[in-house]
């Protein structure tokens, strides 16, 4: 059961990386410069993944799931704030919509799904103790850690190139 739980955590990390890389590809290939709230939503995605990485590397723990949940709720809140900014007709949708919805609306949907997914993982944990001992990584775990590290590194470079070390502006 615990091996399956770790695999499910790796799946979450890989899925988050896919979302981050999709956002990066839209930024690079479509020339969409992200806004400060867009970057904050990316940060929140990485925060959720950080809980998953901790579960992979340090064993399954309640605190790691708690960390993921905090970041997922934070990310959903930021996305909701951006949706609220563009509700009024005089403020048009920011960026190119994807399948009829703004990227920040997709971000809200993904963050909400992550909240549900972490809740699902906690339900799955029921009846089995949280594992505290360290175990060997599978190739799937290594893949998850490598791809999320790559996605974070690329975001550091891209964000630094756009905003420098200070805050990003609209």
């Amino acid at each position: 059961v615990n091996a399956a739980m770790r695999a499910l955590n790796s799946l979450m990390v890989v899925a988050i990386t896919a979302v981050l890389l999709a956002a990066l590809s839209i930024q690079i290939f479509k020339g969409e410069e992200p806004c400060p709230l867009c970057y904050l939503q990316r940060v929140a995605f990485i925060g959720v993944a950080a809980g998953g990485v901790l579960n992979i590397t340090c064993g399954l723990r309640g605190a790691h799931y708690g960390l993921s949940l905090l970041w997922a709720v934070n990310g959903a809140g930021i996305a909701l704030r951006q949706i609220a900014l563009h509700v009024c007709p005089q403020f048009p949708t920011f960026g190119v919509p994807l399948w009829g919805l703004g990227l920040y609306t997709w971000s809200f949907i993904f963050h909400s799904c992550l909240v549900l997914y972490v809740a699902f993982l906690l339900f799955m944990q029921e009846g089995t103790p949280f594992v505290v001992k360290r175990s060997k990584y599978t190739w799937w775990d290594i893949l998850a850690i490598v791809v999320i590290s790559f996605a974070v590194f690329v975001n550091v470079i891209v964000c630094f190139a756009q905003c420098g070390i200070g805050p990003c502006h609209e």
């Binding site: 590397t57 340090c58 999320i148």
Partner: protein, 50 residues
């Protein structure tokens, strides 16, 4: 804002070193930092809207 991403590289590094408590603390401090940036953005955007 790049440093907020950079801090996550530190969190992943601490996780790989299996310093889990340090990783969690740094991730939580980063959460507060992100909320601070959100607050800064919230107030400046309000100025623009108003």
């Amino acid at each position: 804002m790049a440093f907020v991403f950079l801090i996550f590289l530190v969190v992943i590094g601490l996780s790989l070193a299996r310093w889990r408590v340090a990783a969690i603390v740094v991730a939580l401090v980063n959460l507060l930092l992100a909320l601070g940036i959100l607050w800064y953005h919230w107030t400046t955007t309000l100025e623009i809207v108003l």
